[in-house]
């Protein structure tokens, strides 16, 4: 997969010019596009089979147990030894940082519309 990266946030922003994995390809071409009137259409064998990979179903006890396991697995020793005061400071610093970035985004994009305006 050709991934171009730039800037300081490169680890957290991945750019790909074209989808490579099956799920990403399906995302682009399955059930998306101009639909042609059914009476001139012909069905093709095998399409359903190809779509199975794309659908994910969750919400069950299994899911809850997995969440619980994940949170139990979490190694908090690093933060626990850091001390609560430091944690608090770190948290608010991170918040300030993201707020600053968001304000910056607003300033730079004068055309930023609210959801209401966009849905019109």
């Amino acid at each position: 997969m050709a991934v171009a990266t730039r800037g300081t946030a490169s680890n957290y922003l991945q750019r790909a010019p074209s989808p490579s994995g099956l799920a990403d390809v399906l995302d682009v071409i399955l059930d998306k596009g101009l639909v042609i009137d059914a009476y001139v259409r012909v069905s093709v064998i095998g399409i359903e089979v190809l779509t199975i990979d794309a659908r994910i179903v969750i919400a069950s006890v299994d899911t809850y147990l997995r969440f619980a396991e994940a949170v139990n697995r979490l190694d908090l020793s690093q933060t626990e030894t850091a001390g609560i005061e430091e944690l608090r400071d770190g948290g608010s610093a991170a918040k300030r940082k993201s707020e600053g970035a968001i304000e910056g985004a607003k300033e730079k994009i004068p055309g930023l519309k609210s959801d209401k305006e966009r849905s019109r």
Binding site: Y12, S18, L22, V28, G33
Partner: protein
């Protein structure tokens, strides 16, 4: 069905362009057949012949369909059709698609002209997200400690803890989804949000003017910087505007 008859006339349709914008397509079509352009009154449909006999789509055909769309998109404004669009005959393509729906298609081409699709997916880092949620939610942290001390005996407590986390994660996902969408919407012409999977904050397609690509990318870059390390953002594109074709045609 016509597709399985040896004398099949069925045609696979990839999409529609203005005839003068695209002279030919070199990419191989579905089932390895060449792609042709069927023209009528300045519009052209990209099609390929389906082999007779028992035709069955294969995984490789997904890539071929996409490759045809991408090649056409590189040179022209294309109104893409969904994967697996097969029509009975050339006549149907010319009269029903290019004929009856001519005005719709011309309007769709006009709306999509100069625009590209970008697929954005923001995924949580499980560990970072849970760590943050435990910090923000003392009740959750307390329950986690209590459950941990019970060990295997605490089966129902485990479920209860998991349920609570699932709810907190879902709530966080909704808030983040709205915020991310709002941050990016200003640089896009339109957006289609898709149901997000587990640990996915936002999955959406954006329609972006080519001239504003840099602006959109800058907004994404800032967003990714601000949301790290809890979130990681992936963007795919520029893609042909598949998610916006139906709406652009008014269907």
């Amino acid at each position: 069905m016509a597709a399985s008859s040896p004398t099949s006339t069925a045609v696979y349709v990839y999409g529609v362009v203005r005839a003068d914008e695209l002279p030919a397509v070199a990419a191989e079509g579905v089932a390895g057949t060449p792609v042709e352009l069927l023209e009528r009154d300045s519009l052209a449909a990209l099609v390929s012949r389906l082999p007779g006999g028992d035709f069955r789509v294969k995984r490789r055909d997904l890539q071929r369909h996409l490759a045809v769309l991408e090649e056409a998109f590189g040179e022209a404004t294309i109104v893409p059709c969904p994967f697996g669009t097969v029509v009975r005959s050339d006549d149907d393509v010319e009269s029903v698609l290019l004929g009856e729906r001519r005005d719709e298609l011309l309007a769709a081409i006009k709306r999509l002209e100069g625009k590209v699709q970008l697929n954005v997916k923001a995924t949580y880092d499980e560990e970072e997200l849970l760590r943050e949620l435990l910090q923000l939610n003392p009740e959750l942290a307390r329950l986690r400690e209590a459950t941990k001390s019970l060990g295997d005996a605490g089966y129902y407590e485990q479920i209860r803890l998991g349920e609570l986390i699932a709810a907190v994660v879902a709530e966080r996902g909704e808030t983040d989804s709205r915020r991310l969408l709002d941050r990016l919407a200003g640089s896009a012409e339109d957006a289609v949000v898709e149901p997000a999977g587990e640990y996915v904050a936002l999955k959406a397609s954006f329609l972006v003017n080519r001239k504003k690509l840099r602006k959109f990318d800058d907004a994404l870059d800032r967003l990714a910087g601000a949301e790290q390390p809890v979130m990681r953002i992936e963007v795919i594109g520029p893609l042909p505007p598949t998610a916006f074709a139906a709406a652009a045609a008014g269907t």
